[in-house]
């Protein structure tokens, strides 16, 4: 039996092509971009605007802030379907999934299919179903900037700082994002002979993950002598990062992170991160490629930065006595 839906999807995509290619050449006023944000404008949006300005891309940006409430999204989507802007910018996994649906979902479950959507700050587009896995054709109208470095690159960054035999990770088993991240970490680590010790956070009496268990979990992990604690894109851990890093420091364990805030504002000792404004710039670069250079979104790859920032929180390093190696000091960003 011929799979009709994919066929139709394909035809539909082909028909939508003229709409998806940018208005390159049609110089009728600035490009209209709807920006769907989670918590207002962040450095990501600052970078986004700065890039567009520096490269003289005439753009009218309509900001629609969900204010941490996904319930507002359907109204914004309806507005988009009415106004038909040239492009939609979406912030984060939640909003993006809400805007374009999963890649393998039926057409009805994909709200915006014929307007280019560029996302920023989605940490795992394939794991969350926004993008098809490798080997499949890319989606016709979705591309974006990923802010988390690939896990093998993260491991290489950890190894550049200290010799690595064991990584410990505490995570929330209820977050699918986090679970898949830990699984990927195990696979990549075992490929280079590094063991991963995992400690899922148990639920408390209220049926939700219990933050009070964090110090105990860290103590148990510390007994097995890992070299560091890994902080993944886990919302629960992110919200309780201070407890985690303090417990780690108490046991002489540094924390490594792949997202900015844990090391810039929290007490993680080091991390390989993408600066938010660079992520915004990367997203803007893709917007430029679609609107100005005329590429179809499927021809613009979903990618991370080429070079990441190695950030070190110096007071933690000095306190733990784990001094950054000289070669890293050449290019690392030191937070004093």
């Amino acid at each position: 039996m011929i799979a009709r839906r994919p066929f139709l999807t394909g035809v539909g995509a082909a028909l939508a092509m003229p709409f998806l290619a940018g208005r390159a050449g049609a110089a009728a006023g600035p490009f209209r971009i709807h920006m769907l944000l989670w918590r207002g404008e962040t450095e990501v949006e600052q970078g986004f605007r700065a890039y567009l300005a520096e490269h003289q891309v005439p753009a009218e940006l309509m900001v629609r802030d969900c204010n941490r409430d996904l319930g507002r999204l359907p109204d914004f989507l309806a507005e988009i379907r009415r106004e038909r802007p040239d492009l939609v910018y979406s912030w984060g996994t939640g909003i993006t999934l809400g805007t374009v649906g999963r890649w393998d979902a039926p057409a009805e479950a994909q709200p915006i299919r014929d307007i280019p959507v560029v996302f920023a700050l989605v940490s795992a587009p394939v794991a969350t179903g926004i993008a098809p896995p490798g080997g499949q054709a890319p989606r016709a109208n979705v591309t974006g900037a990923v802010h988390v470095p690939p896990i093998p690159v993260q491991i290489a960054a950890m190894q550049a700082y200290l010799p690595l035999r064991r990584i410990a990770v505490i995570f929330n088993p209820a977050e699918a994002n986090s679970v898949s991240n830990v699984a990927e970490l195990r696979a990549a680590a075992s490929a280079v002979g590094v063991e991963v010790l995992q400690a899922p956070v148990p639920n408390g009496p209220d049926g939700r993950p219990d933050p009070a268990s964090i110090p105990r979990l860290v103590a148990e992990l510390a007994r097995q002598s890992p070299q560091l604690l890994y902080i993944g894109p886990d919302n629960f851990v992110g919200n309780h990062r201070d407890e985690l890093t303090a417990a780690g420091i108490a046991h002489g364990l540094p924390c490594f992170t792949a997202t900015e805030l844990e090391v810039r504002q929290g007490d993680a000792m080091f991390g390989l991160v993408s600066r938010y404004d660079m992520v915004g710039r990367l997203a803007a670069l893709k917007v430029k490629q679609i609107l100005v250079d005329g590429l179809v979104p499927s021809a613009v790859p979903i990618e991370t930065l080429d070079r990441f920032s190695f950030v070190i929180r110096l007071p933690v390093a000095l306190r733990l006595g784990l001094y950054p190696p000289l070669p890293i000091l050449d290019y690392a960003e030191i937070i004093r």
Partner: protein, 256 residues
């Protein structure tokens, strides 16, 4: 046309040509090789400076700063330029080739990076100037600009010229060895000349004497292999030759 040469001269010419060929080839090779090695050494020196500046530029770019917004860039360039006496100027330029920051004496007419715009790293060693450069990429993997370091071309040319003068001078001096060589060749084949001159004179006398019996031989002895056998053979044939000449002379007489 009568050109009187002798084997010594021919061998001498051959030896002279061989020595000339070898000396010219060796001198040229040494000169070319030195140019190569010298440029390589300068190149490595410039690479050290380029790598250092590149690190500073990349750190700035990764903070999201544009090339002309990287703090202290002119000061960084100035420090490198001062730190090496043969560096003439350092330029950081954007992807279109326009200078963004410079240090040292900048020659507006000399922008070597323009001719290498597609390349990751380049070097130029020519009469126009001596320089090397690298491209710099931003965090997206795209061109962000480039760095170019210029070396004191006059110094480079002067050193090359001085070394070439020395090498070619040495080559010229080395050619002088041809003189003793040719003298030695002459000495080796000297006897031969005498031997064959004597032989020629002897045949001459035989001819003039119409083969008369009483012509003594005043032949020389040769010590060179092929000629020794020849002289011996001539001695054996001399009598018969004399007979033959006499016979012809008599026959002529009787005929007339």
């Amino acid at each position: 046309m009568h050109i009187r040469t002798n084997l010594a001269a021919k061998m001498g010419m051959a030896v002279a040509m061989i020595i000339l060929l070898a000396v010219v080839a060796t001198t040229l090779l040494n000169a070319l090789r030195f140019d190569q090695i010298y440029s390589q050494f300068i190149q490595r020196r410039l690479d050290v400076i380029l790598a250092d500046i590149r690190r500073d530029v990349v750190v700035g770019l990764d903070l999201g700063l544009p090339l002309n917004g990287i703090e202290n860039l002119p000061a960084i360039l100035a420090r490198h330029e001062r730190g090496d006496s043969e560096i003439v100027s350092i330029t950081v330029h954007d992807c279109q080739g326009s200078p963004v920051a410079t240090a040292g004496l900048v020659d507006a007419s000399f922008s070597p990076w323009m001719s290498f715009s597609g390349q990751e790293s380049w070097q130029l060693f020519s009469t126009a100037g001596v320089a090397a450069g690298r491209r710099v990429h931003d965090a997206f993997g795209q061109c962000a600009g480039g760095i170019s370091v210029s070396y004191d071309a006059a110094e480079y040319r002067a050193t090359l010229a001085r070394t070439n003068r020395l090498l070619f001078g040495a080559g010229g001096l080395a050619l002088l060895v041809i003189i003793p060589a040719m003298l030695a060749i002459h000495a080796i084949f000297r006897r031969r000349k005498a031997v064959f001159a004597a032989l020629e004179a002897d045949v001459d006398r035989l001819i003039l004497a119409r083969g008369a019996d009483d012509v003594p031989d005043r032949l020389e002895h040769s010590d060179t292999d092929p000629d020794k056998a020849l002289v011996e053979s001539y001695r054996h044939a001399r009598l018969a030759l004399a007979h033959g000449l006499r016979g012809a002379a008599d026959g002529g007489k009787s005929a007339s």
